[in-house]
Amino acid sequence: MPPARKRKIRLVVALSAAVLLACALVYTSLLSSSESVTPSDLVAVKAAADTAYTLTGKVVDGSVRTTDGGVDFRVRDREGATSVPVSYSGAVPDPFREGREVIITVRKQGTTFVGERDSLVTKCPSKFTEDATQRASS
């Protein structure tokens, strides 16, 4: 077989394999991923029961209640007041506090959203700068 033809066949085989792998990657990603939502999204779309959502927002001031195995709290939009109740069991990250930004995987059960065990993460407060309004120029 001429070398040029051989190279062409190799290229076609390699490209076909790459396309197949890419399709597999897209398929498994769609299958395994959960929708990222804000509290407003959950309220607006009427969250389906037993569907996992990755909820991002801020812990509402005064809403945190310690329970025997975790915490109950409300999460609100980053900018806005719409909030949803969350009941969580598992390790509570050290930086977790009212007003902090959290990411948690939740499923709707009745009127509340139940957090998946150990899915609660809190944004590192050392880096999360609320604003820079206090600053004056030098």
Partner: protein, 729 residues
């Protein structure tokens, strides 16, 4: 002071822009004086930014709260060690650190090549100065570390207690050193493509050591972050597939591929397109990593929020990607390989396969990290992927990678013969499989992926050990040296090779530790009261007693309240260890609406993990005390202090507060309080850190300058005897 700092940064920006123009003019017009001037601009920027960084550090160390960044990230009560580190805990401070390291490394490489690579260097200088100008612009126009407050507060907010860990002092400089060092091969790669100097491997040789240093520093940075997570955060893990963690892994993976494929270009003149693409991709991924942590484009626990840096970074990355692709396509003819692959059973083929696995791994991590954006583009909905998805792809790739790292160092270049294969692989294969059978008999068969990793890891350790053994044997036969002296001179004569071998052993140990601690750990979250026991794995954890204390700073100020537990660990009735997990509460700096007692429970909280690390197994526990019973007392305390407001002298009020807090901590212990414990028994975690130390040592050996070429000259007869001994003739 702040004005001087800001002026130094503005000057650095001006010098960078001048340096770019001088370097390009010198390169195009072949004017050496402009080329030298461009190079000296880099040295000048290093000096200017060193000055700016010193001013910022001085402000932190003297608690100058007129600086906004000092007021928000340090305090007079922050220990000096952490005051110095607090300089890079902010967005603006870390950007300054980035620029400072970039200017230092750039100066080092340009000083080293000042008499070589005369065609390539001016263009590389311009690229490096381009990066410097970019970061200096951000510091001048977007995020200045020298912003002043209109009214300086009496006290700063302090460094987040979570960051008060020795790892955090070293972790960011290591990561940023890795990122900035990767821009050096990038700059020289771009310059080599522009000047069509890609056939000569000189630029690769000149920057290879920097690529290796970048790889090493970035790796150390990543592992320090993992260690901090394991020992400081109360979740018991060391890797969470967070976007910012992944962002640091991406250039490390492609950088690993690069330090291997460079060898093929040096030895055989092959893989030039691949190499230059890896150089460019790694440099771009290093900037992407910096971008991800600063832009807030992806939800990450580590990302800086409220940032305005997204757009400038997107523009820079777009230029880097577009320019890189255009350059490679433009110079594709000059990048043709000088040789072809002779056999699939050769070192170059194994290195190529190793490269493909590493790049596949990088692609998977990239895909999973950016999936929220990809999904949004495809489906209109933002979606995110969790750790199980990452594990599904990275675990088999990691097993392949470890296996290849055992084959690569010992297989022959060009084409391995059956005799070569038998001689090099028979013992490691049989021994590793034997170990696998024994481990399977002891229960490892229940986790096939972990078992496969153990077998592959054992294969690597034995095959590399065999190489050392043979090398020492040859050396002893040739020189009559003792075993240790022979080992030392063997390594000293070929640091790159034997340092690399040690890195492979370290990586094998590390992956064995990861596989074992992931597959065979036992974890339990349990609520207990004093006297209760829980069983995890083969161990009984008994919550013997509650503890509590009030800590003060060196200046005598109340610093934190800690509630802890004494946990006795036994196995089959025999006492193993006593663990003392603790949770500390720091007072909130936000005084509005909080009483003097209550504010201790509204501030930051940190976990002190109770850990017994061992070569076979770690016993790990963290606790969250149930302080609900204390709330009425805390509220009562706040009411009393509110009623006494203005009636007590400040020093008396401080004493009264101390007494009140001591009363609360004593009441906590007396109440036999419940606490929620996370208890983990995890095998071979220590192997991860030992593996990391081995990688670090191997990397240092490989990086260390070798003896003069003259001293490395060996006689033809010596060479022939060595080859004969090694069976590679």
């Amino acid at each position: 002071m702040a004005t001087v700092g800001r002026a130094l940064l503005i000057l650095a920006l001006v010098v960078a822009l001048y340096g770019i123009a001088a370097s390009l003019y010198g390169a195009v017009r072949r004017r050496d004086e402009f080329i030298a001037s461009g190079r000296r601009s880099v040295y000048a920027i290093a000096a200017l930014v060193t000055g700016a960084f010193a001013i910022l550090e001085y402000a932190f160390l003297t608690s100058d709260f007129t600086f906004a960044t000092v007021a928000s990230h340090s305090s007079t009560t922050t220990p000096t060690f952490y005051q110095a580190a607090a300089a890079w805990s902010s967005q603006e401070g870390s950007l300054l650190l980035w620029l400072w390291l970039l200017s230092l490394w750039s100066s080092l490489v340009l000083f080293g090549v000042r008499k070589q690579l005369r065609i390539v260097t001016p263009w590389a200088t311009a690229v490096l100065l381009g990066f410097a100008a970019f970061f200096a612009s951000l510091l001048v126009f977007k995020e200045t570390p020298f912003a002043l407050l209109a009214v300086a507060p009496a006290e700063g907010a302090g460094l987040n207690p979570l960051l008060r860990h020795p790892s955090m002092m070293i972790h960011p400089p290591m990561l940023y050193s890795g990122y900035t060092l990767f821009t050096i091969p990038f700059a020289f790669g771009v310059a080599a493509l522009i000047t069509r100097q890609v056939r000569a491997a000189d630029w690769i040789r000149a920057t290879r050591r920097f690529a290796l240093a970048a790889w090493l520093f970035l790796g150390i940075g990543i592992l320090l972050g993992a260690r901090w997570s394991y020992s400081e955060l109360g979740w018991g893990g060391y890797w969470a597939w967070d976007p910012v963690e992944n962002a640091s892994l991406l250039p490390w993976l492609t950088g690993t591929a690069l330090v291997h494929s460079i060898m093929i270009q040096e030895k055989r003149g092959m893989l030039k397109i691949w190499n230059v693409s890896l150089v460019l991709a790694t440099g771009t991924l290093a900037i992407l990593g910096t971008f991800l942590v600063r832009s807030g484009i992806l939800d990450s626990i580590h990302a800086f929020g409220a940032s305005t840096l997204g757009v400038p970074f997107v523009i820079l990355i777009a230029i880097m990607i577009g320019g890189s692709i255009a350059l490679v396509v433009w110079r594709r003819e000059a990048l043709r390989s000088e040789n072809r692959l002779d056999s699939l059973l050769s070192r170059e083929a194994i290195f190529l396969l190793n490269n493909l696995v590493l790049v596949a791994m990088a692609f998977v991590v990239f895909w999973g990290t950016f999936w929220p954006l990809i999904a949004e583009a495809l489906t209109g909905t933002r979606r995110s992927l969790g750790p199980p998805w990452f594990d599904k792809y990275t675990v088999p790739l990691a097993i392949m990678l470890v296996l290849l790292s055992g084959i690569g160092p010992v297989i022959a270049w060009r084409k391995a013969t059956a005799a070569n294969a038998r001689r090099n692989f028979l013992l490691p294969t049989v021994a590793a499989l034997g170990i696998g059978v024994v481990l399977a008999a002891f229960g490892a068969a229940s986790r096939p992926a972990a078992l496969a990793m153990f077998v592959c890891g054992a294969f690597v350790v034995i095959s590399v050990g065999q190489e050392f053994w043979r090398g020492v044997g040859v050396r002893r036969a040739m020189t009559g040296e003792g075993p240790l002296r022979a080992l030392r001179s063997l390594v000293a004569r070929n640091r790159r090779r034997y340092g690399g071998y040690l890195v492979h052993v370290g990586m094998a140990l590390l992956f064995i530790g990861v596989a074992a601690s992931t597959a065979f750990n036992s974890a339990r979250d349990v609520r207990m009261t004093p006297g209760q026991t829980t069983r995890v794995g083969d161990y009984q954890f008994t919550y013997a007693k509650a503890t509590s204390r009030v800590s003060t700073t060196q200046a005598g100020e109340l610093e934190k309240i800690s509630f802890g537990a004494i946990v006795n660990v036994t196995r089959d009735g025999e006492k193993i260890v006593t663990l003392r997990p603790e949770r500390s509460y720091f007072p909130s700096r936000d005084l509005a609406g909080l009483g003097p007692v209550g504010r201790f429970f509204e501030g930051e909280a940190t976990s002190e993990v109770g850990l017994k690390a061992g070569i076979r197994r770690d016993l790990w526990t963290a606790m969250t005390p149930d302080i609900r019973k204390l709330m009425p007392t805390i509220e009562e305390g706040d009411r009393v202090f509110a009623a006494a407001a203005g009636k007590l002298a400040p020093e008396l009020e401080g004493q009264a507060l101390g007494a009140a807090l001591n009363g609360i901590v004593n009441r906590y212990v007396d109440s036999k309080p419940a606490a929620t414990f996370r208890v983990i028994t995890s095998p071979l975690v220590t192997w991860i850190w030992l593996g990391a130390i081995t990688v670090f040592l191997g990397g240092l050996i490989a990086l260390w300058p070798g003896p003069d070429a003259a001293r490395r000259q060996v006689s033809a007869s010596y060479k022939a005897r060595v080859a004969e001994e090694l069976g590679r003739a």
